[in-house]
């Protein structure tokens, strides 16, 4: 565990799951995970076919969805014991999230989108001296510096995804979760995006959980997990 993790005030593995079950509709289990664990600083590639429950699992890890049964510890904190408000605060403080697309609030500028977590979370805010300066540094590294004051609607998809990464990384949260962030990018832009993502995650010393159904990306990660093999619900009832 790094000095940085100590400063983040968290201990334990990045993700530790045991006998986790979740269903949107009673009787139709989407997630049934006997065990899943990965360590701090790992870059994890999680793949599975459409409908296998990837996004659902990320929602559980982010504390947006509540499992019906099981243990779910993120950065050493058992989410199942937290109140909903506490889970929201935990997510704001320790998690960076990147969606497949449409990551940005349309009526905020690029800079405002990037600094949004600092405005929602005191913890996140406490880890950066100046959110605007931090946003500039990240924008520089992600090669979107000239766009900082632009309207997000004027951005290309690739630029939007990099803005989303900057927002996920600001205040250096311990866990970065990406839900198919490259699926809307062509091969060239996808490779450049991954390069920038890896460099910046390494810089922040964060753990990266990257979900995709594009197995060709797997080689760049420390670990590759197949949700289909882990998830009993998907193995039996998936699409």
């Amino acid at each position: 565990m790094s000095v940085r993790d100590a400063r983040r005030g968290t201990t334990g593995p990045a993700v530790a799951i045991r006998d986790l079950r979740f269903s949107y509709v009673p009787g139709h289990e989407v997630i049934d995970l006997p065990a899943l664990e990965f360590a701090r600083g790992e870059t994890v590639f999680l793949h599975g076919p459409s409908g296998s429950g990837k996004t659902t699992l990320l929602g559980l890890i982010a504390g947006v969805l509540t499992p019906q049964v099981g243990q779910l510890a993120i950065l050493g904190t058992d989410l199942t014991t937290l109140s909903r408000g506490a889970r929201d605060r935990f997510r704001a403080a320790h998690l960076g999230y990147v969606f497949q697309m449409f990551n940005l609030i349309p009526y905020l500028t690029v800079r405002e989108n990037i600094t949004l977590p600092c405005r929602l979370s005191a913890d996140r805010r406490a880890r950066v001296t100046d959110p605007d300066a931090a946003a500039r540094v990240l924008a520089d590294r992600l090669e979107i510096a000239p766009l900082l004051e632009a309207r997000v609607t004027a951005l290309s998809v690739g630029q939007q995804q990099r803005v989303a990464v900057a927002r996920a990384l600001i205040g250096a949260p311990a866990l970065i979760v990406c839900d198919e962030p490259t699926s809307a990018l062509d091969a060239d832009r996808r490779d450049r995006f991954l390069e920038l993502l890896f460099a910046n995650v390494a810089e922040a010393e964060s753990t990266l959980l990257f979900v995709s159904h594009d197995l060709s990306l797997a080689g760049r990660f420390d670990r590759t997990l197949a949700l289909r093999e882990l998830n009993r619900a998907a193995a039996t009832g998936g699409v």
């Binding site: 996004t55 929602g59 609030i105 405005r119 929602l120």
Partner: protein
């Protein structure tokens, strides 16, 4: 602060729909507040029809009839009051001044009032006294002063000869041609029934009726110049020396046996009259309130409609750490901001409207619209509008809350 700025930016982002919603609610607010404003203006104009007079005294009859016949020139007088009785009350120690009224003649459908110089010096309406646009009060028995509307409608100017007629019908069958009058003054517009009347001296009326008699003409003048001495009058206005004596004097007059009289306090009688005719305003208010309800429903619909397209935005906010309650707060804040802006805009519309239209409204209807501050009723309305508007936002917010809980991070679009 973050939420407020988010709510504001989000509203601005949907400028067209926000603008339309804003205008529709603002118009209903303006209607509601405007009606209240006009209602107050009308009420004050009405209550100001006669001021400074402590008692109106006529022959025994109904309160409203005495008021209508003397002040508004409507309905027929309750009868007549003998000159002796008038003199007796005028000498009463509590009485400071009196204005006698002799009614019963007309000119081209306009009422003619025989009175004294006291009328021009003592009569008050809305704390103003009678002034002249041209000329002055009638002094001789051949002079008449005419109201602004009479002058305007009939096109009369100073020096014009006027023949009065018996009775108030527009086309009179009995004209007092033997004793014509000359316009001596045109009274400045008052926006009270004064504008629609003509004023002559008591001597003028007596002389006119005497002339008819002498010429062997009709002899049906209501306060007919019967026996010796001055003719009876129709009513008189009283100013007391001391307001506290008014009630005492009123009782004395009403209970006096010599000649049965009815003495009314103008303010009280006006209030009663307003009560009976004022119920129409309730209907107006109901219509305005309904308009407002429609406006609020429109806002609710607009918020609901925007909700579907904003599920993505909600998911993003959730991913960044906003709780479902924050989402609710955001939406409620949006509707609250919208309602507050609409209330402000509505009030601005009312004052803007008053500023633009008050000259025309006063000239046309005699309703004095003033730029007075909002009254408690208006503030109450505005408070209710903002609260109702904010609460209306709760419905879509509740929906968003449930979506936020079930959607997770991938809203099913």
């Amino acid at each position: 602060m973050l939420l407020l700025s988010l709510a504001w930016r989000s509203l601005r982002n949907r400028a067209v729909i926000t603008g339309l919603t804003l205008v529709s609610i603002a118009l209903s607010v303006a209607l509601l507040v405007g009606i209240e404003h006009i209602r107050r203006g009308v009420r004050e104009s009405f209550a100001g029809t006669i001021k400074g007079t402590d008692l109106i005294v006529g022959a025994r009859g109904g309160t409203t009839q005495v008021l209508l016949s003397t002040v508004f020139g409507m309905s027929t007088p309750t009868g007549s009051v003998s000159w002796a009785t008038y003199e007796r009350w005028r000498a009463h120690p509590a009485v400071r001044w009196t204005i006698p009224y002799v009614l019963g003649d007309a000119h081209q459908g306009h009422r003619v009032i025989g009175t004294t110089a006291e009328f021009f010096s003592r009569y008050r309406f809305r704390d103003r006294s009678v002034t002249f646009a041209a000329g002055g009060p009638p002094e001789t028995d051949r002079e008449v002063a005419i109201g602004a509307e009479v002058a305007e409608r009939l096109g009369y100017t100073l020096g014009r000869e006027v023949v009065l007629a018996h009775g108030v019908a527009a086309v009179s069958f009995a004209e007092h041609t033997a004793h014509p009058f000359v316009v001596r003054g045109i009274i400045a517009r008052t926006f009270t029934p004064i504008d629609r009347a003509l004023y002559v001296t008591l001597d003028g009326l007596t002389a006119m009726h005497a002339a008819e008699e002498g010429a062997g003409g009709l002899m049906m003048g209501p306060p007919s110049p019967h026996t010796e001495g001055p003719a009876p009058i129709t009513a008189f206005l009283v100013g007391t020396k001391n307001r506290f004596e008014t009630l005492q004097l009123q009782r004395e007059m009403n209970e006096d046996r010599t000649e049965p009289l009815t003495a009314i306090i103008p303010g009280v009688a006006l209030g009663q009259l307003w009560q009976t005719i004022g119920s129409a305003e309730v209907g107006l208010r109901v219509v305005a309130a309904l308009t407002l309800v429609v406006g609020l429903i429109g806002m609710c619909v607009a918020l609901f409609a925007s909700l579907e397209s904003r599920r993505r935005e909600m998911a993003i906010l959730r991913a960044v750490g906003a709780g479902p309650r924050t989402i609710v707060a955001l939406l409620v804040l949006e509707s609250g901001v919208l309602a507050t802006l609409a209330a402000g805009l509505g009030v601005a519309l009312v004052y803007g409207g008053i500023l633009v239209a008050r000259g025309a409204v006063e000239a046309r209807f005699g309703i004095a619209l003033t730029m007075q501050a909002l009254g408690t009723t208006e503030w109450l309305y505005l408070g209710l509008i903002v609260i109702a508007g904010t609460l209306v936002g709760l419905l879509p917010a509740w929906r968003a809350y449930r979506n936020a809980l079930t959607d997770g991070l991938s809203p099913s679009l």
